[in-house]
Amino acid sequence: MNYATGSRARAVGGPIFTKTVVALLLIAALAVVLIAVRFALGLGATTAMNDGYAWGLWIAFDVVTGTAFGCGGFAIALLVYIANRGQYHPLVRPALLTSALGYSIAGFSVLLDLGRPWLAWKIPFMFWHWNPHSVLLEVALCIMAYMLVLWVELSPAFLEKARDSGSATLRNFAERTLPILRKSMLWVIALGMLLPTMHQSSLGSLLLLSGPRLHPLWNTPLLPLLFLISCIAMGFGAVVLESTLSSRYFGRSAHRDMLASLGGWILPIVSLFLLIRVVDLVVRDQLGALLALDRYGTMAAVEIALFAASIVMMRSQSQRLRLGNLFRASMCLMAAGTLYRFNVYLLAFQPGEHWGYFPSLTELLITVGLVAGEVAAFIVLVRLFPILEAGSSTTKIDPSPAGIGSTSPTA
């Protein structure tokens, strides 16, 4: 296996500034204006965050949920390199790109959210001040490092383009760099699995420190485990959505069988999540709270129902082979994971009944704009660089890993 350095991926090509991209960029431009306003006026004037809910949409969605959406790279890497399922190799690059963009948005959102972002450099560099007890420090360092790892993992796509370009300098550089990357990529990829394991679980640990103020439906020492498992499931779900949508958008045939069998991997993971979630509730004697018809019980029930719905929709291979069904199931899964994270970070967190939070228009539009920018960037990068592999709905997936990853680098 040539670890992401050998690929049959091709740049999709075509016009860059299509109507869709321009529309997305306009939404992103609005966000850029609002970001300027945020920095000019401060957080109090532009966001609905307050001293009760000190973290709002930007943390709960852009960072906590956004990086879970961006776990496609992590999940596919686990599948391809650890479970040794080389046949999923065509999904690696698009998943990595989604992840890299998602994590970059998350990192950028953190800078928006910080009161004193220009001091953020101190986090990685002032290591003698590191607080070993701080979960957030671990999350911050891991996410920063992982962002770097993701772009390095993805760099062969850009280098291949450089190698095939007209410029001699670029070609030389690519030809010298690619072999080095090929040799060291294993270690980078291993890091690319270690880091998300650490920080995705720690995103759950973060709120353990709010323990006394966390609603018992979500307050469990298993939070890190639940966050980790659900992020892997969401990563797979994100790959299904991204792959289906991009094949539709670019008018290519979908990797139907590959996605269907991917669904087969999601199934046990989500089941495991639900099992732990429910057993945990039973053990902690919280079933009563779950069935209570207050907003906490209702939201927890909706969240669990969405997870369950995705399982039901993906129950058999024949169900999964129907792309519409698989797509709906993945949507359910993503909604469930998102709701779970929102529940933990905003609903379960109770600074007191007298505090309230609903994101301000500025917060919302900035988040929407960042996501729009992310989608636009995905479309443009996929058109320019070898990321996507053409799929075929008729090709049957060879269950053995042999013969897939061994393709020689495209010349």
């Binding site: 004193r116 953020a120 991997w265």
Partner: protein
Amino acid sequence: MGISRRFALKSVATAAGTALARAIAPAKADAYERVEPADDAVGMLYDTTKCIGCKSCMTACNEANNLPYDTRGESAGRWHMPFDLNEYCKNIIKLYKDDETGEQSFVKRQCMHCVDPACTTACMLGALYKAEHGIVRYNADLCVGCRYCEMACPFNIPKFEWESRAGKIVKCELCAHLVAEGKLPGCCEVCPTGAVIYGNRAELLAEAHRRIEAEPDRYVPHVYGETEAGGTQVLYLAHLDFEKLGLPDYGDRPVPQTVKTIQHGIYQGFVAPVGLYAMLAAVMMRNRRQQSEEDTKDEG
């Protein structure tokens, strides 16, 4: 369908190994070392039965800390009249009033200076830290404004400068700058009735128990902060339930205990992450070796 469940479970188990260990870790009591108050820990003792609600401690606090007054909202620029602790208020007198029973009590709120604080556990670079005498202090130079301390503090004490473009955290530091000069904290200095007094935590605790013993009818027989959330250096005596005064019953378990147990269990010496990394790499190398063997076979 061609995919073995064994692999699915194996891959999840590999990735989840660390987290599983974390989840089990709380059971190991030895992973968390309970923090005891230092011998020279200082604090305050506030007695609701002595407070007359004059609020001179509030203005004294702003003066001692060179903090602008909060004249927003209903105050319309006339008074320092915050409704909660905030970026302009490190110390507040609140009023509990039950019109039906006629029960009434003032309560002073400021940093509790926990023995094992959640905020210092949360803080990435130690901008909030346990300083001399156990005072929880703040160093703005190391603060990036992430506000995790606000999310962590069970007493909802640290506040953020929302109106600033360079928001910092604002919270009571027990007037450490005055204490260092041998002076009293602003609030204790001006309190006309001795409702809040400053001193060594152990002595204040003894004084609190002495008061309860001397006048058992006057107080709820409990010193809030003696054990709450692992103990705080600011102690409360009250004539009403502490819950009513906004001081919840958190039990005696320090807030950071769960997290410290997990983090210590997993990241002690960084063994677990390095081990996991090695394992991941090893599996990948084995897979690659198998791959190339099969490739050679195919080619041959």
